[in-house]
């Protein structure tokens, strides 16, 4: 296939896509209109189940199955990264030299680390009340842990990061999500249906039925997954070196 032919193919595909996009765009409702059939129903369902944050209700209740898919995608991609970035046979580990960090930066890192972890947990726990939820909070918590690498050195991070535990936590959290769904099946309703737990008082931490549980599972999964992912990248960038003389 020569260059001209390839260009023609790309142009053909691009034209088709552009036509479809234009057709779809012309049928879109006007920007900022006041008719939101899906939104109205979602808000009604969220209020009925005492979930203050409608987004959390959509993610973890109305479309919980969707979220299970997204969770598995993250799990699978992290698994792929772990397999790809493992230590190959012709590589060896070099101990990184300890870094010389300015004292104010070190103090800042050690001071902010607990605050950031706490904020991450807060975002996870309040997912059904205010903006946030498992994904966002999990990422914040996992990023916060890496302040240890930035403020001290890689060795300090490795000491508080038993990688096996995080890998197990990742898998456990995904299973917890599935088990919560299966519990609904055992109780005689549909997979992941939010009928097991009492809905609680509106706008309190324990409201929303299974939403907080699923939120916590996703939060744990994301936090562990990000830690494992960053660990592989850090290993490659900092520790693992190819054997010289090749």
């Amino acid at each position: 296939m020569n260059r001209r032919m390839r260009l023609c193919l790309v142009a053909l595909g691009g034209a088709g896509l552009a036509a479809l996009f234009t057709a779809a765009f012309l049928r879109l409702p006007a920007f900022g209109g006041d008719r939101h059939p899906y939104g109205d129903r979602a808000v009604r369902a969220a209020l009925h189940r005492h979930t203050a944050n409608t987004i959390a209700s959509v993610n973890f209740d109305l479309r919980a199955f969707d979220t299970l898919g997204e969770t598995s995608i993250l799990f699978a991609s992290v698994l792929g990264c772990v397999v790809l970035l493992r230590q190959a046979r012709d590589e060896h580990r070099a101990r990184p030299e300890p870094a010389d960090v300015a004292p104010p930066v070190r103090r800042y890192a050690l001071l902010v680390l607990p605050v950031a972890v706490l904020t991450g947990l807060y975002v996870v726990a309040h997912g059904q009340l205010s903006p946030g939820g498992g994904f966002q909070g999990g990422v914040v918590t996992a990023t916060a842990l890496h302040l240890l690498y930035l403020g001290a050195d890689y060795h300090a991070l490795e000491r508080v990061r038993p990688l096996g535990a995080y890998e197990a936590g990742d898998a456990l959290a995904v299973s917890a999500y599935v088990v919560t769904g299966l519990a609904a099946v055992l109780a005689g309703t549909a997979f992941l249906a939010n009928t097991l737990l009492p809905y609680g008082t509106f706008n309190t931490l324990s409201s929303g039925g299974t939403v907080p549980l699923l939120n916590a599972a996703v939060g744990m999964e994301v936090a562990c997954a990000v830690v494992v992912l960053l660990a592989r990248f850090l290993d490659q960038a900092v520790e693992i070196e190819e054997d010289s003389g090749k």
């Binding site: 070099a94 990184p96 030299e97 300890p98 870094a99 010389d100 960090v101 300015a102 104010p104 930066v105 800042y108 890192a109 902010v112 605050v115 950031a116 904020t119 975002v123 009340l129 205010s130 903006p131 946030g132 966002q136 914040v140 990023t143 916060a144 890496h146 302040l147 930035l150 403020g151 050195d153 890689y154 900092v238």
Partner: protein, 150 residues
């Protein structure tokens, strides 16, 4: 559009626009400083937006940005330490001007909120934003002296 939103628009257009110009052009040191300042300006903008839309829960965004923005700058300061050490950034005037904008924003929003838990959260966010920014600019101008291979 109320006064808060207008202020947010001014901060975002003027401040973030300038920071964007700084990050897109010039030598590496200027880009790093501009990235750091963009965090603070966006944080002030988010605070003003939360107040303008009258949604206290939007403050979470400013809080998370105040925590993670300086962390992002520290990432650059650490991993680009070699390049930055050869040509350390110095932008005292710009840094203090931005910090002034942030402090004024926090003070104004606090005054509008009134005492209470919300004000405490605001103050924590502001302190993290400003402190983090100062530490991050310190780190950019030679905070990671002898990082080699680490």
């Amino acid at each position: 559009m109320n006064g808060w939103l207008l202020a947010a628009a001014v901060v975002l257009t003027g401040g973030l626009g300038a920071a964007l110009w700084g990050v897109a052009t010039g030598p590496l040191r200027r880009r790093a400083v501009a990235q750091n300042l963009a965090t603070v300006l966006a944080g002030s903008g988010l605070l003003l937006l939360a107040q303008g839309y009258d949604r206290p829960s939007y403050l979470d965004l400013a809080l998370v940005l105040a925590l993670l923005g300086p962390v992002g700058t520290l990432v650059f300061a650490r991993l680009l330490a070699d390049d930055l050490a050869a040509d350390p950034p110095r932008a005292r005037a710009a840094t203090w001007a931005t910090v002034g904008v942030a402090a004024a924003t926090v003070a104004a929003v606090c005054a509008a909120t009134g005492p209470g838990r919300a004000m405490g959260k605001l103050l924590v966010t502001g302190a993290l934003l400003i402190g983090g920014n100062l530490i991050a600019s310190r780190a950019l101008s030679g905070g990671f002296g002898g990082v080699r291979g680490g």
